[in-house]
Symmetry: C2
């Protein structure tokens, strides 16, 4: 068997997420269906690095899969790219050793979250940014953002009942910029792993801090108390983008 690593992008709008689910349209299933066709009808299992939710987009999702023989890489990329639906695109395909695992090999993920603060909203971005038409003070969010940096127990920013036991993660970058032309806030987070809905809960909390309805210290409070009820609401999936995954050698 030859192991392949592929970098893919997708528009999350018409998917119920990356991970295969019965009777739902998912990215994993579309990839597996196409690979099965390219593999003479033999089933292929696709492993994804990040399990994006319904509506969540990706520019740099990484997957791996095994095929029985070596293939021309560009032909494989082209076949996978053109035969998957047009809301998935395959950016690159490379051969990797059997030691490579898209999910379990150590890596850093970068997520972006887009917030449309225009009034009214931009209808062309309704699937691609979360609309937030309330008055925001950028400085409050910029002040709170660095509290997310470093190694913390992010229990307070993840959904209850998660099967993950160790909730300690490291965030090495947390940034915010304002695109004035497009009335867009762009949050960027990079870290060694993110818990279920963690980015969306962090953004929801930062936005609430930005409206003044939570104090600037709320991030610290949620980290220390590990109390999910003290965090802000979970932001919608349409503004979330899995931008890039970088693997450690």
């Amino acid at each position: 068997m030859i192991r392949y690593k592929a970098i893919i992008s997708y528009d999350g709008t018409d998917f119920s997420g990356f991970q295969r689910q019965p009777r739902q349209r998912t990215v994993q299933e579309e990839l597996e269906k196409t690979l099965q066709r390219l593999n003479s009808g033999q089933a292929v299992v696709v492993h994804g690095a990040g399990r994006t939710d319904a509506g969540v987009h990706a520019y740099g999702q990484v997957v791996h899969f095994d095929l029985p023989q070596a293939r021309d890489l560009e032909k494989l990329r082209f076949g996978l790219d053109t035969q998957t639906p047009d809301d998935i695109d395959v950016i690159s395909v490379q051969e990797v050793s059997e030691a490579f695992h898209a999910r379990y090999n150590k890596h850093y993920k970068t997520y972006e979250f887009l917030v449309d603060i225009g009034r009214p909203k931009n209808p062309l971005l309704r699937h691609y940014a979360t609309h937030f038409p309330y008055p925001l003070t950028l400085a409050l969010m910029e002040e709170a953002l660095p509290d997310l940096l470093g190694t913390h127990d992010f229990t307070g920013f993840t959904a209850a009942g998660s099967s993950v036991i160790n909730k300690v993660r490291t965030i090495k970058a947390a940034e915010l910029r304002f695109d004035k032309d497009k009335n867009l806030l762009v949050f960027t987070f990079s870290g060694d792993g993110f818990l279920y809905k963690q980015v969306r809960n962090m953004v929801g909390t930062l936005l609430k801090i930005g409206t003044g309805r939570m104090p600037v210290s709320q991030i610290k409070t949620v980290l220390e108390t590990k109390d999910r009820t003290l965090a802000g609401p979970t932001a919608a999936g349409n503004g979330l983008y899995l931008k890039e995954i970088i693997y450690e050698e």
Copy 2:
């Protein structure tokens, strides 16, 4: 009757265009349905400044309509905005004199055209930019672009069989920029009026010049000969945006 001018934006993806057509989903019909509801069931006719085609987007379409009584402007805007489908947004509503006509009053229109030159395409832009994955030389297009400026008979850039007799128009701005981050070419055109499919034919011609398959002088040739067959192919509607309309006092 009170005349109102509204500026609206819409995602053209799920419309068959702006202008009402039987058995097709159109922006005009959605606006008129909503206005009829807001007008106690009495029909309202909406006049649009530009008749955008199927798939074509707008950030600054202008419409006018008449209502029997004066209304609170923000309430009217809010009602129209929230009760139209979510791929239409109403940016502003103002009262205008009965002399104002969205289409016939002298105005300048600005159009943008977005080309995704990435390989593979960006799936999140598949409805919002025209994919053009062929090698392009920016300098060739930049050289040809100024030939469009000024007052010309644009017969060669419009579809045959148009009912418009006078095809002389003035283009006062024609620009091209490259958004490197997004792999997007952005064409911008401003003028006193554009013929049917004129912008899309100009872009199709410029792209063909950019690939080297038409000479840089082709714009001049098409203008002088008025020969549609010498122009490039009509670019797809998904990359076209009606950006702004400015009326002369």
